[in-house]
């Protein structure tokens, strides 16, 4: 809770500084419009939070997004399938990618970082090969409108999906029995196993869910850009992880919240939007995001939020 209050303060500070740097920034419509660009990150941050809480990681999300988008485009274009049905396929393909990760992690007992590092390269490679380096364009008007239009010309349609995913994620992680299992695995996987927690099943579901959300994001991304590209969201997995860690999820496991991660996504998004509007070069933007991340983590430890983690480490 303390962490989230702290994040709200950072968010406020970011908005304040940005509005001083650029007059356009503080307009409500600008803020809402900038959310459109945060949707994919926000959606993928939900399963990423849960995975990092269990001390895992999924580096393949951005590549899964690209592969799902490309395959959706191919199915639509060459099989003449309805674009929405093809979108459903994108979600299925993403889930398949996640399931493959899950199998290698739990079934073959390979560390998540190794598995998803490999599939990050592999999924991206397949996407590039299938698209032969060219994007797929010309999606129907209605589909593009879903990615580019706004409800009452105000709230981007895709933001609604993000809100739904985040709400469901919040309930699952923080109110459900499944969420209990996630935290218990993160704090002490051995202990969870001795308490008859279905550790393998929980992990399988999480990586599957992560792939599924990457697939959904692939569809949203294609609709927003108006094209399916193999280099979509390149490097985005690190942005998602940055947002989650900024949001207070402990990389050593057991701690984290959906609200925190969502605030993390918002901070990064507003920061970048503001810096863009103020015409700060991209390279400098990255530096600033990095500084904000490190500064918040230092502040967490000073606040004593990570206190128990320290004791645990010191005790072993």
């Amino acid at each position: 809770m303390r962490k989230n209050i702290f994040l709200l303060i950072i968010l406020g500070v970011v908005v304040m500084i940005m509005s001083m740097m650029s007059k356009e920034f503080l307009r409500f419509s600008t803020l809402l419009e900038s959310l459109r660009y945060a949707v994919e990150m926000g959606i993928m941050a939900v399963p990423m939070t849960m995975i990092i809480i269990t001390t895992g990681i999924d580096l393949s999300v951005a590549s899964t997004l690209a592969l799902s988008g490309i395959l959706m485009g191919i199915i639509w274009k060459y099989l003449n399938l309805n674009i929405w049905l093809a979108g459903l396929f994108a979600i299925l393909i993403g889930s398949g990618c996640g399931l493959l990760n899950a199998y290698m992690i739990t079934g073959l007992s390979i560390p998540p970082i190794v598995v998803t590092l490999a599939t990050m390269a592999a999924y991206r490679g397949i996407a590039t090969g299938l698209s032969k380096g060219r994007g797929i364009t010309g999606f129907p008007e209605s589909f593009q409108n879903f990615g580019q239009g706004s409800f009452m010309n105000f709230i981007p349609y895709s933001v609604f999906i993000w809100v739904i995913v985040a709400l469901v994620g919040y309930v699952v992680l923080e109110k459900s029995k499944f969420g209990r299992y996630i935290y218990s695995i993160g704090h002490n996987e051995t202990g969870a196993m001795f308490s008859a927690v279905p550790v393998v099943r929980v992990k399988n579901i999480l990586y599957l869910f992560s792939g599924m959300m990457a697939g959904l994001s692939g569809m949203i991304y294609s609709a927003r850009i108006g094209a399916a590209k193999s280099n979509a969201f390149m490097g985005g997995e690190l942005e998602v992880i940055t947002a989650v860690v900024l949001g207070g999820t402990s990389i050593t496991g057991g701690e984290g919240s959906i609200l925190g991660s969502t605030l993390g996504v918002l901070i990064i998004t507003f920061l970048k939007t503001g810096l863009n509007l103020a015409r700060v070069p991209h390279s400098v933007q990255s530096i600033i995001v990095g500084i904000v991340l490190v500064a918040s983590i230092i502040t967490y430890t000073r606040f004593g939020v990570g206190f128990f983690k320290k004791i645990k480490k010191g005790g072993v």
């Binding site: 309930v171 109110k175 459900s176 029995k177 499944f178 969420g179 209990r180 299992y181 935290y183 218990s184 704090h187 002490n188 051995t190 202990g191 969870a192 196993m193 001795f194 308490s195 008859a196 927690v197 279905p198 393998v200 057991g254 128990f308 004791i311 645990k312």
Partner: protein, 501 residues
């Protein structure tokens, strides 16, 4: 020849007298065991010898001369070293680097590796110790790592070693290796104060034993002149019969059948049955396959072959979930790592294995959960301010009660208790024994694994003895024979009779 002598040492802390008129002596080349329950004063006595505590009254003599020990560094200069398990060791550095960490020999401003190596090799030869100086410490077995610490102390000219539970983390084989190294040290005139809760080890390795209880010395005797029962009685101050609240319970139907369980070379052809209301003990040294058997039944490990039946029905030995569903509960030996999620609350821990049977399908019913936790806190008399209290802040005995609460809530019929009384105080132990009797009365089958033979003798209806993965003996309560069981468990029988058991 006497090297160390403590006379009438008294030490009190606000509100408690930790040591009262305690005498203690140590001869050259002697292994002197110090035994007693938690809080008996062992560690205070050691701290007096190490110069950490100043005694209120009494005198310490070193080689006949009265002496004051100021602090641990002073003690080390006098040749007294304590071997701790968790003292600074660096697993990624070599043995040689670990030996000299913090007091490296220097030549012309550079570290003198050659000189240190030569010095270490000489000492190893002198004391007949073998250690690979260039291996990383982390690659060594636990026993060898302890030997590194012993060698380090010897390099610093230690003549008196204080060894606090050195075998706690060792397997049977490693323990034997350590013991033979200790015997070599003894031959070279090194004296050792040996602290252990394992009474059979006291008999195995030490020359004399001193029993402390409530800060007083109860007796000092030659090990050859005392029986295990006398020693136990000295330690707990009561006869065994009065300490264990064992009651005769009518044993009912068979609820658990284990048939020909095999796992690597750790568990071999283990078969036994457990009946309602029965307390079945498994005795055996560390590494005899006791805990592994329990983990196989509970589904943590998958057996190579064999089966487990509950009420005559085959159990899927897949994961703990199916074991728990058929009514098996396991209270593991390591409650910090296996038994509890330490950074979480009592409520969280009690409900964790029971979430599937707590009302509501998907969400957690917080108020119901809290109600259950509070009920268990009352039933088991867990001392805590509230159900939200983090389990990491509870005492050992109360932590163990939380682990039990997890399984008692769901009314598990088969309870596997693995070292349930380890590291908890006498009061909590007594509570645990009473609880076991109560549960047996209610028709539960209890599989009781313990390293402390006397508690098995006191509580069980039947005892299985395991050694090297096999069940090598079975005793009914009327046939209990402490000596026979110790011999069977440690393999002395084999030596004596010259054949296999």
């Amino acid at each position: 020849m006497e090297i160390l002598r403590l006379e009438k040492i008294t030490k009190s802390f606000p509100g408690v007298i930790a040591l009262k008129d305690v005498d203690f002596s140590l001869n050259e080349g002697e292994i002197h065991a110090l035994v007693g329950e938690n809080g008996a004063g062992k560690s205070t006595l050691i701290k007096v010898i190490m110069g950490i505590h100043k005694p209120d009254s009494g005198q310490i003599y070193l080689r006949g001369k009265p002496i004051r020990i100021n602090d641990p560094n002073h003690a080390r200069e006098l040749g007294i070293s304590a071997i701790h398990q968790e003292i600074a060791v660096f697993p990624d550095l070599t043995v040689l680097e670990n030996l000299f960490m913090g007091w490296e020999m220097v030549r012309r401003g550079f570290i003198d590796w050659k000189g240190m190596r030569k010095f270490a090799e000489e000492k190893m030869k002198e004391y007949m110790i073998e250690l690979p100086l260039d291996s990383d410490l982390g690659e060594l077995s636990t026993a060898q790592q302890e030997l590194v610490q012993i060698l380090r102390a010897l390099l610093q000219n230690a003549r008196i070693l204080i060894m606090d539970e050195p075998t706690a983390a060792l397997t049977t084989e490693e323990t034997e290796i350590l013991f033979s190294d200790m015997e070599n040290l003894k031959k070279n005139g090194v004296s050792m104060i040996y602290i252990s809760h394992r009474l059979e080890e006291v008999f195995r390795i030490s020359d004399r034993v001193t029993v402390l209880r409530d800060g007083k010395r109860i007796f000092t005797k030659n090990v050859s002149e005392i029986t295990p029962a006398e020693l136990v009685e000295g330690v707990i101050g009561r006869r065994i019969e009065t300490f264990y609240p064992k009651k005769k319970v009518d044993v009912g139907d068979t609820i658990l059948e284990v048939e020909n369980l095999n796992f690597a070379n750790v568990v071999r052809d283990v078969s036994f049955t457990l009946r309602e209301g029965e307390i079945l003990g498994i005795a055996g040294l560390l590494g005899s396959g006791r805990s592994t058997t329990a983990k196989l039944i509970f589904g943590i490990l998958k057996p190579d072959s064999g089966m487990v039946k509950v009420d005559g029905k085959m159990l899927k030995l897949k994961d703990p979930i199916s074991a728990v569903r058929s009514g098996i509960a396991y209270v593991p030996e390591d409650r910090h790592r296996q038994g509890l999620i330490l950074p979480e609350s009592i409520r969280f821990n009690i409900s964790l294995p029971n979430l599937p049977i707590i009302p509501r399908r998907f969400l957690v019913d917080l108020s119901k959960e809290r109600q259950i936790a509070e009920e268990m806190i009352r039933t088991l008399d867990i001392r805590t301010p509230s159900s939200e209290f983090l389990t990491m802040n509870l005492s050992g005995g109360n932590q163990q009660k939380v682990v039990l609460a997890k399984w008692l809530f769901r009314d598990s019929r088969i309870l596997i208790l693995d070292e349930p009384t380890q590291g908890i105080d006498v009061g909590a132990k007594n509570y645990m024994y009473n609880l076991m009797v109560e549960l047996a009365k209610r028709g539960k089958g209890i599989l009781f694994i313990s390293s402390e033979l006397h508690e098995l003798l006191g509580m069980c209806d039947r005892i299985l003895v395991m050694r090297k993965g096999r069940i090598v003996g079975e005793f009914k309560r009327e046939e209990f024979d402490e000596e026979k069981i110790i011999n069977l468990a440690s393999g002395f029988e084999e030596v004596n009779s010259g054949g296999r058991v």
